[in-house]
Amino acid sequence: MKLKLRIWRQAGPNATGRMVDYDIDGVSEDMSFLEMLDLLNENLTEANQEPVAFDHDCREGICGMCGVVINGVAHGADKMRTTTCQLHMRSFEDGATIEIEPWQAGAFPVLKDLAVDRTAFDRIIQAGGFISSNTGSAPDAHATPAPKLEADVAFDNATCIGCGACVAACPNSSAMLFTSAKIQHLALLPQGQPERYSRVKSMVAQHDAEGFGNCTNIGECAAVCPKGIPLESISQLNKDLVKSLFMKDGK
């Protein structure tokens, strides 16, 4: 396959970026999207130019490190749940032009080219995305049964890989889907109950403090989520937050 790539190049956080055109030949349809970028980078190195920086690690769709906007869609796939690394070149036509841009959001500053800083997510988790349970203090695992139906929904939410596609796709750059996935994961398990309402308060407050926009229930986030975190999670976060305001936690 022969392709025309238009890639966002930006030298550093404070530099101005622009789209740069590259031609690439010899792409096989079995290659993953990132292998196609590897090939481009080999070609650039060959030509003594600086390769395109992009984040990636496990390349099997689970670590959440990779992620770029491809032809206007976060992770690049229409109607298919995938991460960038699991997108394969057979999804593209020979001779196609592919536009590649980094995640865009005020809270995700570009570090270089296609790599962005997503540490804001870590700080949202720091605010309360955990169950306070010191090592060694746990009761037997069977001490508290967890109803399967709720545990399954908790699991659905726990599958979030923190890639940031939800933020990238949101016209408001909101991280509500990410935040709600963690809230729901912990709120639906018996072990998560003691901190349930203080958790939602502090995580939402941190979400706002990090400079993510507000949610307008548009649904772009859930549409591009590689793990299928549903929009309902945001609704349930809202419900928990409203309830929490009538509780003393965190006053």
Partner: protein, 233 residues
């Protein structure tokens, strides 16, 4: 500033709470619109019914618990408060979001959003403008194309919508309002936690569409009937 607030205080000031305010006030306004629409449909029952209803609204509700004419002010106050809170929350949220969001992709292909969802902000501004115009026209009566400020409610209605361009103008504005209501209705209930399963999400979506369509038809029937001469003096 932010770090001297308690977690609770930060949560109270959060975007989610502002959204809840928007949701509650939005639902109040949708309720008002439904009632307003119901009142308008009395046009089909003739002047006595319509004027009587208008009179009852302004004077007789809750009488004798409160003196005559007081309820309408309570009502106006509540509605105005809703409008103000709704706009305040919207402006506050939007200003922040527009400041922090990304600068926009060279190319972006929406995957889920509807036109109405995308146009909530501008739609809201147009709706606000329309409300002002509408109040100046029928409540304060300073803009009175085609009727005398002293005319009765039924007559005002009749004279206004016998002008085809007024019907067209209102039709266009109703489209904008109903689009705002469609996403607004869905969004309000989602914000209040009603979206708890894929099924409830679907139901809410259809309800939103249903309410928007009902409002459009209900509001446009009397003016169209007037224009077509089905309703006359």
């Amino acid at each position: 500033m932010a770090n001297i607030l308690t977690t609770h205080q930060r949560a109270v000031r959060s975007s989610v709470v502002k959204k809840v305010i928007m949701a509650v006030t939005g639902i109040i306004m949708i309720g008002f619109l439904l009632m307003h629409m119901y009142g308008n449909l009395k046009m089909f029952q003739g002047p006595e019914s319509f004027d009587g209803y208008a009179h009852w609204l302004k004077g007789d509700i809750l009488y004798p618990i409160v003196p005559k004419g007081v309820f309408i002010w309570i009502f106006r106050f509540g509605l105005t408060a809703s409008v103000i809170l709704h706009i305040w929350a919207a402006v506050s949220l939007s200003r922040n979001t527009l400041k922090v969001r990304g600068s926009g992709y060279q190319k972006f292909r929406p995957q889920a959003q509807t036109y109405s969802a995308r146009t909530m902000r501008w739609g809201g501004v147009i709706v606000a403008g329309f409300i002002i115009f509408h109040l100046l026209q029928f409540t304060v009566k300073v803009i009175t194309p085609g009727f005398d400020p002293n005319a009765g409610p039924f007559e005002m209605f009749l004279l206004t919508f016998q002008q085809w361009w007024m019907v067209v103008l209102y039709a266009v504005l109703m489209v904008v309002i109903c689009m705002h209501v469609r996403h607004g209705f869905w969004s309000a209930f989602v914000t209040l936690g009603a979206n708890s399963s894929p099924r409830s999400g679907k139901i809410l979506n259809w309800l939103g569409i249903g309410v928007a369509v009902a409002l459009f038809i209900g509001f446009m029937l009397p003016p169209v009937a007037v224009l077509l001469g089905w309703i006359t003096n």
